[in-house]
């Protein structure tokens, strides 16, 4: 050791604890290691070659189980020790670039590393704390989570939020909380599941449409998350603190961790306990590979329910290499889908490779992300309420604008059909009814750049009213802009009668204050 220190020009005396044999906390799998025989020197001392060969027998004890499992750690070339050091350095920078911000915002917070680690070192908890610290010091890049937080605001506005007892009742033993993403992807399944619950459960099933606060939690916005949980608490209290039934793993996990004194069940457990609807289509032995949601990786009862439902419908269940407690993230977790879209797509592709068979998911975002990357995937509700056709597994995924519209329509229809009420919107969007036409290529670009139809409508509506725009006399195109909160949106369009054909759109955050 002294020679090694001397050769590396390190101090011969500093920090010289734990030398010789001692009990290490490091746990290593040596099963696959080849143990080579000891090299003994032929003469009294080692020759150079003998010394090298003897030194090469060292297996360089290191545990990289988490790195081998996690695509984020692999991509960043960091193990937890180096990651924590990087975070520490990033936090201390006063002058200069916070170079690790993008890395920190690319962790999926899925907890796979912690599950696999023999010492339970969970980067998700460290990243959550780091993001909270960045927000508190005003060092969190705005662009990372801005869209998701605005979406959360929309979901908690009167466009979607709804808290009701079952029609004709004034108390609730249960409340159905479908979650904002299931409502955006599968509004019709939400209605069907709610009807099912009111038929199967006694004592009234209320309905609560809203956001569980996950975006704020992932973004490190602790204050916003706490006030969101407080609001949910008080709304649940107004319903008489019923048992919450969630159809979203992220909501389930958020409530389980933060709403301590109220019982929470998943819709999948209810289906498993109370039986499936009578008119379900059967799977006829089709093999489906179960993709467990990372937010409920510890919920064994949910894992079992999903498999029981699939089996009772006549499907064969395959377990991919990473399954149940050690499932992988689909690419949405930790808001990476918004903060680092390019990497999020790699995560989805990585998970797709884990099975040749079609996936069975029970989180709307997991299913949607797989399908967007060309993987055939079913949501568990596709098996229960779908029409039984194979096309359902590559059914088109709604755009970000359509997701908002679906939530809004779901609330409107439920209010009308179940409670006979008309929807009352307090914060109505201006120019909402403007007719715009966007081709699929541009729609794809808008998805990547997080531009909504309503942003485009607001730009055009304002430009048409004020004439603040530019005009190209050659092709008659108009180029208009408008600052909306903290972004300037630009839209190139042509007007045909009362319709606006959208040619292009882009945005920037920098505020051009003028000449």
């Amino acid at each position: 050791m002294s020679i090694d220190r001397f050769a590396q020009k390190k101090s011969l005396t500093a920090l010289r604890g734990k030398e010789g044999a001692y009990k290490s906390i490091l746990k290593i799998d040596t099963e696959n290691e080849k143990v080579l025989p000891r090299i003994k020197p032929k003469n009294a001392t080692f020759t150079k070659e003998e010394a090298i060969n003897e030194a090469l027998r060292c297996v360089q004890c290191e545990c990289h189980k988490c790195v081998n499992a996690c695509i984020h750690l692999q991509k960043e070339k960091l193990d937890p020790k180096a990651y924590i050091r990087t975070i520490n350095q990033n936090e201390r920078i006063i002058l200069g670039d916070h170079y690790a911000n993008k890395t920190i915002n690319s962790c999926l917070e899925c907890g796979l590393c912690g599950e696999i680690c023999p010492e339970s070192i969970n980067m998700a908890e460290i990243i959550k704390e780091t993001r909270t610290s960045m927000v508190s010091k005003d060092k969190m890049p705005i662009s990372a989570h801005d869209f998701a937080l605005k979406d959360m605001e929309f979901t908690n506005s009167s466009y979607f939020e709804l808290i009701k007892h079952q029609p004709g009742r004034n108390s609730s033993n249960y409340v159905f909380y479908p979650g904002c993403q299931l409502s955006a992807s599968y509004p019709e399944y939400v209605s069907k599941a709610y009807n099912y619950l009111t038929e199967k459960l006694e004592g009234g099933v209320g309905l609560y449409l809203g956001c569980c606060g996950a975006p704020a939690n992932w973004a490190g916005r602790q204050e916003q998350f706490n006030s969101s949980i407080e609001k949910i608490y008080s709304n649940l209290e107004s319903l008489g603190n019923p048992v919450i039934i969630t159809a979203c793993s992220t909501c389930f996990n958020n409530f389980r961790e933060n709403i301590k004194d109220i019982e929470i069940k998943s819709l999948w457990e209810i289906f498993d306990e109370k039986g499936l609807p009578s008119d379900v289509k059967l799977g006829n032995g089709k093999i489906l590979s179960v993709h467990d949601a990372c937010t409920t990786r510890k919920e064994k009862s949910i894992h079992e329910s999903i498999r029981n439902i699939a089996k009772s419908l006549g499907y064969k269940v395959e377990e991919p290499e990473f399954t149940r407690e050690t499932t992988k993230c689909c690419g949405f977790g930790g808001l990476v889908y918004f903060a680092n879209k390019e990497f999020s797509k790699e995560v989805t592709e990585n998970r797709i490779k884990d099975s040749e068979n079609d996936y069975l998911a029970y989180c709307a975002m997991c299913r949607d992300l797989f399908v967007l990357k060309g993987k055939k995937a079913y949501h568990i509700l596709d098996l229960i309420y779908g029409n039984g056709s194979a096309e359902i597994s590559d059914m088109k995924v709604p755009t970000l604008s359509e997701r908002r519209a679906n939530r809004f329509k779901l609330k409107k229809e439920l209010l009308k059909n179940l409670w006979g009420e008309e929807m009352d919107i307090k914060e109505k969007n201006e120019y909402e009814n403007l007719k715009i036409v966007i081709d699929d290529e541009l729609k794809g670009k808008m998805e990547d750049e997080l531009i909504l139809d309503i942003d485009i409508k607001k730009v055009i509506g304002y430009a048409e009213k004020t004439n603040n725009s530019f005009f190209n006399p050659e092709n008659k195109h108009i180029l208009a802009w408008r600052r909306l909160v903290n972004l300037t949106f630009w839209v190139e369009y042509e007007k045909v009668n009362d319709t606006f054909n959208i040619i292009n759109t882009y945005s920037h955050r920098m505020d051009v204050t003028g000449v």
Binding site: G96, D97, H98, Y99, N101, K102, P141, I142, S143, A463, N467, N468, S469, F470, F471, N472, P473, E474, I478, L479, W481, T488, W490, N504, Y506, S507, H508, R509, M510, D511, V512, T513, G514, V515
Partner: protein
Amino acid sequence: MTMKQDDNVKKSKWLCSKCGGPLEEGPVKAEYLGGNFEIELLECPVCKNVLITEELAAGQMLEVEKSLEDK
């Protein structure tokens, strides 16, 4: 930090919708997260409306925004 409008735009055919006049290049003030900049951009000399191209918004401007966010 300086940013500049790309050359393609100088030849662009955009006119101001308000006054119908051509655009001219001139210094324009911009701000992000407390950083102030002066950029040479196309603007209407009469109505003072400023044109930002996609090339600038998705190129240099985005780079500056990202680097300010990481300060």
